[in-house]
Every structure is written in structure tokens, then in C-alpha cells.
Amino acid sequence: MSAASSTVAASTGTLLSRVGPHLPGLALNALAFLVGLAIWWAITAAKLVVLPGPQEVFVRAIELAANGQLALDIFSSLKRVLTGFLLGAALAIPVGFLMGWYKIARALIEPYVQFFRMIPPLAVIPLAIVTMGIDEAPKIFVIFLASFLSCVVATYQGVISVDRTLINAARVLGASDRVIFPRVVIPASTPFILVGVRIGLGSAWATVVAAELIAAQSGLGFRMQQAQLYYDLPTIFVSLITIGVLGLLMDRLLQATERRLTSWQERAQ
């Protein structure tokens, strides 16, 4: 870290990088947040676009929080996203391994994975309704699918990028494939898997709106669509921002996990 950052200051010498090291990350995050808020306020106050300003959205957020609707929506969506996402990520790891490790599994599974990755989640909904009804199952399934498909590509790439010498080292210590997978391949491809998991988390949240088209009775995505009937932009914004913030927090958690899980890496920074 020190080597890189000192050279940054030395070689580029921009104002930013000179100021950089003195401001703690959180203060900068806050600054970025305020700048974003200011821009939003400016373009809405200037009536450049037909969007609600921060105050309006804030007021609506307070209202929705006060009558308990926001909490209910968060709870409903969070449950779905977490279940779908965790199932997706959990399945992606063994499937990615199979694809990366066994040629035959790759040849059989991979085209389907690649094919379905391209299909929008919206298109899966009719099938999900037909096979799973309109309760929680199809909603979770759509989210599951989205996160699974992102994760599996990354895991697969991670598996095929594992350094051969580490596999060899494990083999000569008597490890079978059954041991090598959890004890060598998974740790060695953790950085890749975590990219997949983080992208998968994004897919999960971005899909919650589509998922909640299926007869949801509450949820942030449902609230957004309902608000769309009346074009109630402040409510839409409250839902969107809540989704973004919840996703951001979960991502932060993942990043912290990641730092712990990959502390063995010799990193550039």
C-alpha cells in the first residue's frame, strides 16, 4: 500500500492525490454523497427534469416510514433477495466447480448457463408462474436465477484459473478431487468467486422489481410498480433509494468478508 500510494503522490502529484491520503475514506464517502445530493437538488430545483427533488422524496420517505409500510416492504424484499441470492450463490459454487473441473460437465452445462444468462428475468416470469404458482416460490426463483447465473461464470473462471502448482501440491499430499475442491480450489478462487457473488448480489436486487410483478403483496419492487400506476415519483424514488442503500450495505458486508477471506493475498494495495 505504502509503496503504491507514495508513488502516486510523487508521480502524478495532482491536487486530489495530494489531498487524498489526509482524508479518511469515510469522510470522502460522505463528500461523494453530498456532491451527489447537491447535483440532484440542483437539476430538480432548476426544473430541468420532471423528477422529484430530495426534499420531496425525503418527506415521502418519512411518511412511508411512519405508517410502517417502508419497514414491511424492506422486510418482504430483503427476505426474498436474501433467500434467492444465497441459494443462487450456494449452488453456483459447486456448479462452477463442476464446469471448471470436468470437461464433460462443462460441455453439457455451459451452453445452457451462457444461454440463460442472456435471457431477461422478465421473460422467465410466465414459466415461473406456470410451474410454481404465485406465492413466494416463483419470486425467489427469479432472484435465485439471476444471482446464480452471475456467480457461476465467475466461479467457473476462478476454477480454471487456479494455479496448477497448488493442485499438484495437494495431490502429492494425497488429496483426491473431493478434497481438492473445498480445500484448494475454493480458497484459491475466492477472489473470483467474490467478484461473482458481488455481481450476483447486484443482479438479485436489480431483479427484485421483476420478481415482485408476480402477485407480491408488499416489497420495495411491488411498491415501485404500484406507484407507477399513479406515477407517484416520490414513492418510486423512496423505493429505488432504499433498494440502492440496502444493496450498498450488503455489498459493504461482502467486501468486508472478502477482505477477511483474501487477507492471504499479496496485494498491490
Binding site: V49, V50, G133, Q217, Y230, Y231
Partner: protein
């Protein structure tokens, strides 16, 4: 927030469970809300499981998949029963909320000649646009039709990317906030009663075929609620707002864009073929859109005998 409000009713023990879908606007919710508020479900021996949806086609899909027994569809989705995917059990209200709007300076359909007109394809807005063009003696090709979804129409019209639009209230109201000087060059009321845009309640085909008893009970509930609403629209608005947990204002506006017939009037209209006329009128449009090739005859999918009988 919607829940079964018929708690403690004596009929509940023998009540027949039904799964009923609705859409969370005034037209889509008011009868369900009134029925719940007035204890009409229990009165007629039903125990509803109410499910909210955001559009009609998904409800029809859910009916098809056996996940739902009854649903609510707007006029734009009535081609689904017309193609045999569900049965209509009751008419709801007649919608008068559609408009053809134009930017300031365009005062008639003729002014829109050669201009960009945005329209959500095959919705009641699309139907109104076609009717209005025909009335003005114009062809569809006389304007540049840009197909877009409803919220895109709002954004595009408000930012003056399009010159006109076939769209409805409350979205027209939203647009008015940014473009107060927009002009309503055509409205649904202009075509009433010859062309009407009714919304309706539909039932799963199997339920309609095999469980007429439940269908009768459902119709009874809807009739009672219908008459309550027709008698006191403001009260029904309040009940609906409370039921949905939303502010009443937009519902009030919406409620003013509808025509609410009593169940007696609807039964009469069923008997004299008026209702079939509405449905046939819609079917013609659906055929014009290319949605349907050979629509069923209304008598094959509107259970008018049960309603009027």
C-alpha cells in the same frame, strides 16, 4: 395491508375459500374494498384470499396456472377472455379516463397530422387514438405513431420529445403538472355509449365450468358492492383509500373519470345485448391491432345468464 375483514362472521365456518386478484387503483379495487368493508364476502358465504397485481395479463396467467380463481382486468386485457383464456363473470365500471393529448398549439386531431404521437400499444389509449383518428377522417398512417410504454409516454411528453399521446388519467394529470398548457384533443366520453371501455371480473375456466355455485356467490358479492358504489361514490373512494392505505386525492380524480351503472342497469344491459355490443366493439379493435384473429362471441365468454339471471 388488505386482509380478510370478515372476522367473526357466523357464516365463516362454512365459508368457501376463493382466491381473488385485484389491481391497486380505484377501478380495480373499489368493489373488493367495499365488499370487504361491508362484510359482503361473509354474507354470501365466501372467504376470500385477496391478492394484489399490477396488471391484468399476469392475473390471467395466474388463473391459467391454477393459482387464482377470480381476477380483475381492464379494457385493454379483455381480448384474453375473448380468446378463451378466462370467463367474464361481471362487468365493472365504464372507463372515461382516456385522452388524446397534444402539446400547446395543437388544437385538434387534424393538427397532429405527420406529428409524433406516443402510445402504449393496444391499451385503451391506443383504442381511443384510433377512434379519434377515424372520427377526424384520418388514417393511422397520417400520424407518426411511436409505440412506448405508459411511463415512457409521461417522460417523453413532459420533456416534449413527442407532440401528442394516447394516454389516460391519472397519467394525464401527472403530465399536466409539468406541461400545464397541454391540450386534450379527444376523450373517451366523446364516444360514449357507442364505444365503451368497460373493465370486468374474470374467472378461471375450470371454476366457471365446474363450480357455478361459487361463481354465483362471487357475482352476488360484486352486485352488492356495485350498488353500494353506484349509490355513494365518495364513500367508496374513502373505503378504497383506507383499504389500499393510500391518500384519497388521486382516487377521487380517478373516480370522476368513470361511469358506474347499478347492477340492475348492468343486468338490463346484459339482457338487451348492450354489454355484448361493448365487447364486440372491443373485439373489433383487437382484431384491428392484430391481437386476435377470430375472437369468440361474447356469449361464449361472458357468463351473462348467471349475472342477469
Amino acid at each position: 395491508a388488505p386482509a380478510v375483514l370478515s372476522l367473526g362472521s357466523p357464516a365463516r365456518a362454512q365459508a368457501k375459500p376463493v382466491r381473488v386478484g385485484y389491481i391497486a387503483d380505484y377501478f380495480g379495487t373499489s368493489l373488493t374494498a367495499v365488499a370487504s368493508d361491508q362484510g359482503l364476502w361473509a354474507k354470501h358465504g365466501l372467504e376470500p384470499e385477496l391478492k394484489v397485481f399490477t396488471n391484468g395479463p399476469i392475473q390471467v396467467q395466474a388463473l391459467g396456472a391454477g393459482s387464482l380463481d377470480f381476477g380483475y382486468v381492464g379494457p385493454g386485457a379483455l381480448w384474453l377472455p375473448a380468446s378463451g383464456k378466462a370467463k367474464i363473470v361481471a362487468m365493472n365500471a365504464l372507463g372515461l379516463s382516456d385522452r388524446v393529448i397534444a402539446q400547446a398549439g395543437f388544437n385538434s386531431m387534424a393538427d397532429l397530422k405527420g406529428k409524433k404521437v406516443g402510445v402504449p400499444e393496444s391499451t385503451s389509449g391506443d383504442m381511443l387514438l384510433r377512434l379519434a383518428l377515424a372520427k377526424a377522417g384520418m388514417q393511422l398512417s397520417d400520424v407518426e405513431v411511436v409505440k412506448m410504454d405508459p411511463s415512457t409516454v409521461v417522460s417523453a411528453f413532459a420533456s416534449k420529445q413527442i407532440d401528442g399521446a394516447g394516454i389516460w388519467y391519472p397519467l394525464v394529470g401527472v403530465i399536466k403538472k409539468t406541461v400545464p398548457d397541454l391540450v386534450e384533443v379527444a376523450q373517451s366520453a366523446d364516444f360514449f355509449p357507442a364505444n365503451s371501455f368497460p373493465s370486468a371480473f374474470v374467472a378461471r375456466n375450470e371454476v366457471a365450468a365446474e363450480d357455478q355455485d361459487t361463481v354465483r356467490k362471487m357475482i352476488a358479492v360484486l352486485k352488492d358492492a356495485n350498488d353500494f358504489r353506484a349509490a355513494d361514490v365518495p364513500r367508496s373512494v374513502d373505503i378504497t383509500a383506507k383499504f389500499l392505505g393510500v391518500p384519497a386525492d388521486p382516487l377521487v380524480t380517478e373516480s370522476k373519470n368513470g361511469k358506474y351503472l347499478t347492477s340492475a342497469e348492468l343486468a338490463a344491459a346484459t339482457k338487451d345485448g348492450t354489454v355484448a355490443g361493448w365487447l364486440k366493439g372491443l373485439n373489433e379493435q383487437f382484431v384491428a391491432f392484430g391481437k386476435l384473429k377470430d375472437p369468440l362471441d361474447p356469449k361464449d365468454y361472458y357468463l351473462g345468464d348467471l349475472y342477469a339471471g
